[in-house]
């Protein structure tokens, strides 16, 4: 926890913060944990650990500020420190290489996809879910935070400890990779793409 210790809450205040500001986010926290670990037991442990840490460090949380972002940051750090090694990643990747390559803030916003919005209309939950799950964890994470949980770039920058420019570029790349996966599914389902029409 990098936050400065502000003051000590009374037991009553602690309970009120925990029940009123922390617990309401448990569904989102579990969904995030599950999409990071791909395992229900690991996800449960991760959420439980996060809440116990949150309670232990409750004095560094300022009442009335963004509890959800604060909790997500703890969960993400716990995942990196304790769970990443044993989590069931779909593919082995050279993490360092991914980091170095993809952390550049320069993004070319050219269209990389010929996919059409209509081809997504009949897409099932499993397909989008599988496409999301197939992304490496850093890309998966920004999409979860932005599109599933509605965090702003600034909140994401704090949760992930990266500059806003990096949030933006990582998100853009993540979505492009997602589009490639979805395009594969769409082709499979028989939708035409520009590429095929030419």
């Amino acid at each position: 926890m990098s936050e400065v210790q502000r003051r000590k809450y009374s037991q009553e205040e602690k309970n009120s913060i925990f029940d009123g500001e922390f617990m309401p986010h448990i569904d989102s926290m579990y969904n995030f944990a599950y999409r990071l670990t791909f395992d229900e037991d690991d996800a449960k442990d991760l959420v439980q650990d996060t809440y116990l840490k949150a309670y232990r460090f409750i004095n560094s949380f300022e009442q009335g500020t963004n509890a959800k972002a604060w909790l997500f940051r703890i969960l993400k750090n716990s995942f990196i420190n304790e769970y990443r090694r044993k989590s069931k990643q779909p593919a082995k990747v050279d993490y360092q290489e991914v980091e170095t390559y993809y952390n550049s803030d320069d993004v070319d916003y050219q269209s990389t996809s010929d996919m059409r919005a209509e081809s997504l209309k009949d897409m099932l939950g499993d397909e989008i879910s599988n496409a999301l799950n197939s992304l490496v964890v850093d890309f998966r994470t920004v999409i979860i935070l932005c599109d599933l949980e509605g965090f702003t770039y600034e909140e994401m920058s704090k949760i992930l400890d990266i500059p806003i420019g990096t949030v933006r570029s990582r998100l853009h790349r993540a979505r492009n990779l997602l589009k490639e996966k979805l395009q594969g599914y769409a082709k499979h389902m028989g939708y035409k793409t520009d590429e095929e029409e030419e």
Binding site: N31, K44, L52, I144, Y153
Partner: protein, 89 residues
């Protein structure tokens, strides 16, 4: 923000600066722009690639939002957390 009704007749077929336009559109979709509605309406009315990019990006966001947040919370998790907190109090 459904712009499907807009006529496509007046739209350019090539975008003047895809890179800038798409970055802007994505910021708007992510809720990072104030007063975005006017900019958006103008852009989508004028440029076919921007129009298509916007709708594709929007469709992907909708799909993620609607299909990927439904992993049911295990029933006993919240109680188990509360119980453990009671113990360390």
């Amino acid at each position: 923000m459904d712009m499907n009704e807009e006529s496509s007749e007046a739209r350019k077929l090539k975008c003047g600066d895809t890179s800038k336009c798409f970055e802007l559109l994505e910021s708007i979709l992510d809720g990072e722009m104030d007063n975005s509605k006017k900019v958006l309406t103008e852009k989508l009315a004028k440029c076919q690639p921007c129009f298509e990019h916007f709708h594709l990006e929007q469709a992907i966001r909708d799909l993620l939002k609607n299909k990927c947040t439904k992993h049911a919370l295990p029933a006993e998790l919240a109680d188990s957390i509360r119980k453990q907190i009671q113990e360390i109090k």
